[in-house]
């Protein structure tokens, strides 16, 4: 099937891009001032352990051999040991990965759906007060400074009205409880997710709304809308069934384009709400000079963005029958 071939081709592309990113990262780490060995080996290790680790990572070898070792280590998942946690970084990050993906995909899907839904209405009622209000509101949310919004959320919803928890992903007492079933645990995570999710959705939905609105206005001028009217369809069907699916296509494209940006926001949100994800681990490792962890987190985020882009492309092909790879 053509789609399968497209996905395979894109996977090869992703591998190539990832290889380039890996190489750039290697060069950056070696080029940075200071001793590269000290960056990879925990200063608190015994000399014997340090020597073993250095050998396993090839740090005593010439640069070229180090590069080969580095590639081999990345591919086999041996990315060193975190200074702070004292555990292999790959294990730590694999532990955090699902949390990030949960928050990240939910927020993107929610903000895109909200943007499409509101943008559709704004365009449909163009020039009316509801349109002006939505456009200004979207612009306003779009330009809000994310960490600030997160703090305001914590201050208002977490402190003033006290509706939602402000840190972490779980309440230990729920999870320790012997009778805790899956539903209880899922609800607990959902409860903790409300504030970070609201922050991300508020920041992101505005730009989708604006894209959807202008795309919908273009679509409404298309001839098939006249056809739909001539067919005697009611206005709601025309809007939702004929105009909106066509108008939503550019939104999908813009979701793909803004993925990298979204992950920045994700890291900030995870940090402020202490959501145990990769973004928070990256910020933490950089501020604590935990180089092995930082390097692995960076690579993992690159993979997440690349794969998410692929998913968006496939989704686009699914939504637009004119695109068949």
């Amino acid at each position: 099937m053509a789609l399968r071939r497209f996905v395979l081709r894109r996977l090869v592309e992703i591998a190539v891009i990832f290889f380039v990113i890996m190489t750039v990262l290697f060069i950056l780490f070696r080029l940075a001032p200071g001793d590269p060995v000290s960056r990879m080996v925990d200063p608190s290790m015994t000399p014997e352990d340090a020597r073993l680790l250095m050998e396993s990572m090839g740090l005593d070898q010439p640069l070229w051999t180090q590069y080969i070792y580095y590639l081999k280590n990345v591919v086999t998942g041996n990315m060193g040991v975190s200074f702070h946690y004292g555990e292999p970084v790959i294990g730590i990050l694999m532990d955090r990965l699902p949390n990030t993906i949960l928050l990240f995909t939910t927020s993107i899907i929610l903000s895109a759906l909200l943007g499409v839904f509101l943008g559709k209405i704004a365009a449909w009622r163009r020039g009316e007060r509801i349109d002006t209000l939505m456009t200004i509101g979207a612009l306003f949310c779009h330009t809000l400074f994310l960490p600030w919004l997160a703090l305001i959320m914590i201050w208002f919803f977490g402190y003033r009205v006290g509706w939602f928890p402000i840190t972490g992903m779980i309440s230990p007492e729920v999870w320790i409880h012997p009778d805790a079933g899956f539903m209880a645990k899922a609800l607990d995570v959902l409860y903790h997710m409300v504030l970070p999710l609201m922050t991300l959705v508020l920041i992101h939905f505005g730009s989708y709304l604006l894209v959807m609105r202008s795309s919908m206005l273009d679509t409404l001028k298309d001839d098939y809308i006249i056809t739909a009217r001539a067919k005697g369809l009611d206005e709601k069907t025309i809007r939702d069934h004929h105009a909106a699916p066509n108008a939503a296509l550019p939104v999908v494209t813009s979701v793909g384009l803004s993925l990298a940006f979204s992950i920045n926001g994700g890291a900030l949100t995870e940090t402020v709400f202490t959501w145990p994800g990769i973004g928070r681990e990256l910020v933490f490792s950089v501020s604590h000079s935990d180089y092995p962890l930082a390097q692995a987190a960076f690579l993992l985020i690159a993979i997440v963005v690349l794969v998410a882009n692929l998913v968006v492309d496939v989704l686009y092909a699914y939504l637009d029958p004119r695109i068949r790879y």
């Binding site: 779009h142 400074f145 600030w148 703090l151």
Partner: protein, 288 residues
């Protein structure tokens, strides 16, 4: 030498003009664009906001002259050692060690402008130049310029846009006419291509400035800022790290509002640039 400007797409100055008058033509182009820009309400609001922030940046030198305790970084009110709310003495209150929040806010405007202007200059200078050269020179040089761009990493966006615009300009009759007339490459790039990519470069500059300010603020917020100066992001970090967001809204609100507003101001200013770029978007009175 017969100058080919009669083929140039500018509506005005269709008569042949000498190189000396070219600058005049440039200025006129700018004034034309400005006249369109000024009519745009969104652009005017954006510009007004930016003006206010510029005044704040200028005013940031004043407080420490009034009294050393108003110094945003080192000035500590001798009578206050914790965060207090707004008062006559401290208009926006003090932070956790008794520094004046209002003077910190002014200093933050200065940092934001410094970050914005330097990123604007870099993106304009390097991005536009590289983009134009890459687009103009074509094939062979292209790859190396892009490698250079990736290596230097900061302005590929601007360069890419300018490059594609230049590629489309390169084959317009007025460029070919200039080449036939014997104009040097440098002359073609700077006299003929630059004026045509300038509005686009300005538009992308506003995007670049916005993202530079946000990135600086985000990094400062995470604690990777320059510890020697006060920026809005850093103020937010102090609020956050000292846990004051629960009891000190007078401290939490101003820096966030400033970052959001300056972003919005640049966004609006750039939005209005669309009007200058695309004549079809102008709401012009229909001339008889």
């Amino acid at each position: 030498m017969g100058h080919p400007s009669s083929l140039s797409p500018t509506p005005k100055n269709t008569h042949s003009i000498s190189a000396g008058k070219q600058r005049h033509h440039w200025v006129e182009r700018f004034l034309d664009g400005w006249a369109v820009y000024r009519k745009n309400t969104i652009g005017r609001i954006g510009m007004a906001l930016l003006g206010i922030f510029a005044l704040m940046a200028l005013a940031s030198f004043v407080p420490q002259m009034v009294d050393p305790m108003y110094h945003p970084m080192t000035g500590v009110d001798p009578e206050i050692s914790h965060s207090t709310g707004p008062s006559m003495r401290h208009w926006l209150g003090t932070d956790f060690i008794g520094r004046d929040i209002f003077s910190q806010l002014l200093a933050g405007a200065r940092i934001a402008f410094m970050v914005g202007i330097s990123s604007a200059l870099i993106s304009i200078l390097f991005g536009t130049t590289i983009g134009m050269v890459a687009g103009y020179a074509g094939k062979g040089t292209d790859i190396w310029v892009i490698v250079l761009m990736i290596a230097l990493f900061r302005w590929p966006g601007v360069a890419r846009v300018i490059r594609s615009q230049t590629l489309s300009l390169k084959h317009r009759p007025f460029i070919e006419a200039a080449r036939v007339a014997g104009a040097s490459h440098g002359r073609i790039i700077f006299r003929h291509i630059l004026p045509n990519v300038m509005p686009l470069a300005l538009l992308y500059m506003t995007f670049r400035v916005t993202s530079a300010i946000i990135i600086e603020a985000a990094l400062a917020f995470l604690g990777f800022g320059d510890p020697g100066s006060v920026s809005w992001g850093m103020m937010l970090q102090w609020v956050w790290k000292t846990g004051h967001m629960f009891q000190a809204p007078y401290w939490l609100l101003p820096p966030g509002i400033c970052i959001s507003l300056i972003t919005m101001a640049f966004y609006m200013a750039g939005r209005a640039m669309d009007d200058v770029l695309d004549p079809r978007l102008r709401k012009e009175e229909i001339k008889p």
